[in-house]
C-alpha cells in the first residue's frame, strides 16, 4: 500500500465530516434561515438588533473589553517573555504556571476573584478599612467594566506569554548588543529595531487574544450570571434566558460574533503575512 493523495483525503474524510456536522451545519442552518428572512419582506432579527440599544451596547462593550484586555495582555506578556528569555531558569515554572492559568479560566477564576475582590473579598475589605481611616469611599465593583477587564486580563496573560516567548527567543541578541554599543537606549532599540522585527508575531498574537476574549463565556457568566453585559452571555441568555426564548435574536447575535471573529482572525493573518513579506 502506498500513501497517495486520494488515500490521504479518504483518511481525513471522517474528520471533515465531523467538523462539517458539528460546527458548520448547526451554525449555517440558522444563519441561512435568518438571512433569508432578512432578504425577504418578513421580520428580520438583524434589523431588530440594530434598533435595540441593549444589544448594540453588548457588542460595543465586548469589542472594547476584548481590545483593552488584548492590549494589556500583549504589553505585559511581551515584557514577561523578554524577561523569561533573558532568564531561562524560569522557563519550566512558567510553562507549568501557564498551563495552570489556561485551565483556571472560567468558574475557578470567578470564584478566586470573588474571594479576593468581591464585595466581601479579602482585598476589598482591607482597602475599605484603610480608606475609611482617611474618610474616603471605595469605588470598586467586581462586576463593573474594570472588574471584567481585570478578569479577562488574568486569563489572557498565560496565553500571551506562551504565544510570545517563541518569537522573542528568535530575536537575535547580537542586535540589541550592537545597538547598546552604538549608544542606543533600550527604548530606542525597541522602537527602531525590536518591535518592527516582532510586528508580525505581535499582530498574530493580538488577533488570537482578541478572539479568545470576545468568545469568552464562562468567566463573565460565572461572575455576573445572565446579567453579564458581554456578547457571549447575551447569546446564551437569548435562548436559555430567565424570561422567554428568542432564537432568532440569538442567531443574529451569533452571526455578528462570527463575522467579528472571522474579520479579526483572517485580517490578523493577512496583515501578519504582509508584514513578513515586506520585512
Amino acid at each position: 500500500m502506498s500513501l497517495t493523495p486520494t488515500r490521504a483525503w479518504l483518511a481525513a474524510g471522517p474528520l471533515l465530516a465531523l467538523m462539517a456536522a458539528a460546527l458548520l451545519l448547526p451554525f449555517a442552518w440558522r444563519s441561512v434561515a435568518l438571512l433569508q428572512a432578512c432578504m425577504g419582506s418578513g421580520e428580520c432579527a438583524l434589523r431588530e438588533l440594530w434598533a435595540d440599544r441593549f444589544y448594540i451596547d453588548a457588542i460595543t462593550r465586548t469589542v472594547a473589553l476584548s481590545a483593552a484586555s488584548t492590549a494589556l495582555g500583549l504589553v505585559l506578556g511581551l515584557g514577561a517573555a523578554l524577561h523569561l528569555v533573558a532568564h531561562p531558569r524560569w522557563e519550566k515554572p512558567v510553562a507549568v504556571l501557564a498551563g495552570l492559568g489556561a485551565n483556571f479560566a472560567g468558574v475557578p477564576l470567578a470564584l478566586a476573584l470573588t474571594l479576593l475582590l468581591g464585595s466581601q473579598g479579602v482585598l476589598t475589605t482591607l482597602a475599605q478599612k484603610s480608606l475609611n481611616l482617611a474618610g474616603l469611599p471605595l469605588g470598586w465593583d467586581l462586576n463593573s467594566d474594570a472588574g471584567l477587564l481585570l478578569a479577562f486580563t488574568a486569563f489572557q496573560l498565560p496565553l500571551a506569554v506562551v504565544l510570545l516567548t517563541t518569537p522573542v527567543r528568535m530575536l537575535d541578541p547580537a542586535l540589541a548588543e550592537a545597538a547598546a554599543t552604538l549608544g542606543a537606549r533600550p527604548a530606542t532599540y525597541w522602537r527602531r529595531v525590536g518591535l518592527p522585527l516582532l510586528a508580525p508575531s505581535l499582530v498574530e498574537t493580538a488577533s488570537l487574544l482578541f478572539a479568545n476574549a470576545a468568545a469568552a463565556y464562562a468567566t463573565p457568566f460565572a461572575l455576573a450570571g445572565t446579567a453579564s453585559p458581554v456578547l457571549a452571555v447575551r447569546i446564551a441568555a437569548a435562548v436559555s434566558g430567565d424570561i422567554f426564548s428568542q432564537p432568532e435574536l440569538a442567531t443574529a447575535l451569533s452571526l455578528v460574533m462570527a463575522v467579528l471573529l472571522l474579520v479579526v482572525i483572517v485580517g490578523g493573518r493577512w496583515w501578519a503575512a504582509r508584514l513578513r513579506r515586506s520585512a
Partner: protein
C-alpha cells in the same frame, strides 16, 4: 540616563504577570484548606474537612466520573479522527494540510457558545428523538478539540522531518503501510499521547457547552462547581483544587512528552 543601567521594565512586567496569574489559584487553595476567611488578610483554621467532604459527596463523585468518561471519549474521538487526518495531510497531500490548517482556525471563529446554541436548536430541538444528547456533546467537543490535536501533531511532524524517511523506505521497497506501522507511528507515539492528554484535560474543564447543552440531563464538573459556589464556597474551592492538581500533573506529563527526543540545542 546611563546606557549601561540594566533595563528593569521586563522584570517588572514579568512579576506583575506572575502575580496576576498566581494570586487567584492561591486564593482558591487557601479557601479550600481553611475553616473561614472573613477576618483580616489571612484565612483561619487549617482543615482537611472540605477535601474529605468531597470524597463523601455522592453528587461530586457522580459529576467527576461523568466528566472523566465523557471528556475522555471526546478526546479519543479527536485524536483518532483528527490525528489520522493530520498525519495523512502532512505525509501525502499539501492541499489537505492547508485545508486542515484553515479548519483548525474554525473553533476560534465559531466559539463554543455559538456552537452550543446551534446544536441545541438542530440536534436537540429537531433531531432530539433520534440523537443521544451525550453523543452530541462528545461529537461537538471533539470538533472543538481538533485544533489542539492538529497543532501538537504538526509540531512533532515538523521536528521529525518525515520526508527523508518516506523516500528512504520507498527506495528500499517497503510499503508505506509498513513505514507507518514500524517507524512513523512509534516515533510519533509521544506526540499522540501528548495530544490526547491535552485534549482530555481541556475537555474535562469545559463549561460553556456543558452548561447550555447538558444542563438538567447530565451533571459535569465545571457546572457543578459553579452551582456549589453559592451553597458552599469552601467545597467548590476544594473541588477546584483537586481537579486542577490532576490537570496540572497531566500537563507536566504533556510537557515531558512533547520535549521527548528533542535534541538539546547547544
Amino acid at each position: 540616563m546611563s546606557v549601561n543601567r540594566p533595563w528593569r521594565l521586563p522584570a517588572i512586567f514579568f512579576w506583575a504577570a506572575a502575580l496576576l496569574v498566581l494570586l487567584p489559584p492561591l486564593a482558591v487553595f487557601a479557601y479550600a484548606f481553611s475553616e473561614r476567611w472573613d477576618q483580616g488578610l489571612l484565612p483561619q483554621g487549617a482543615t482537611l474537612h472540605w477535601l474529605a467532604g468531597l470524597a463523601a459527596d455522592e453528587r461530586v463523585r457522580g459529576a467527576a466520573w461523568n466528566s472523566v468518561w465523557i471528556s475522555g471519549a471526546a478526546a479519543a474521538l479527536a485524536v483518532l479522527l483528527g490525528g489520522g487526518a493530520s498525519l495523512a495531510g502532512h505525509l501525502a497531500s499539501p492541499r489537505l494540510k492547508s485545508l486542515l490548517d484553515a479548519l483548525a482556525l474554525l473553533p476560534y471563529a465559531i466559539p463554543p457558545v455559538v456552537v452550543a446554541i446551534g446544536a441545541l436548536d438542530l440536534f436537540v430541538g429537531r433531531w432530539g428523538d433520534v440523537l443521544d444528547l451525550r453523543l452530541v456533546y462528545v461529537g461537538v467537543l471533539a470538533a472543538l478539540l481538533f485544533p489542539l490535536v492538529h497543532q501538537t501533531l504538526s509540531a512533532a511532524l515538523q521536528q521529525l522531518d518525515a520526508r527523508p524517511l518516506i523516500d528512504a523506505s520507498r527506495t528500499l521497497g517497503a510499503s508505506d503501510g509498513l513505514l507507518l506501522r514500524r517507524v512513523l507511528l512509534p516515533m510519533l507515539l509521544p506526540a499522540f499521547a501528548a495530544a490526547g492528554l491535552l485534549a482530555w484535560t481541556t475537555a474535562a474543564m469545559e463549561f460553556a457547552i456543558a452548561n447550555l447543552l447538558l444542563a438538567g440531563s447530565l451533571e459535569l464538573l465545571q457546572p457543578l462547581v459553579n452551582g456549589l459556589r453559592g451553597a458552599n464556597g469552601h467545597l467548590a474551592a476544594a473541588l477546584i483544587v483537586v481537579s486542577l492538581a490532576i490537570v496540572t500533573l497531566l500537563g507536566i506529563l504533556v510537557h515531558l512528552l512533547t520535549s521527548w527526543r528533542t535534541p538539546a540545542r547547544s
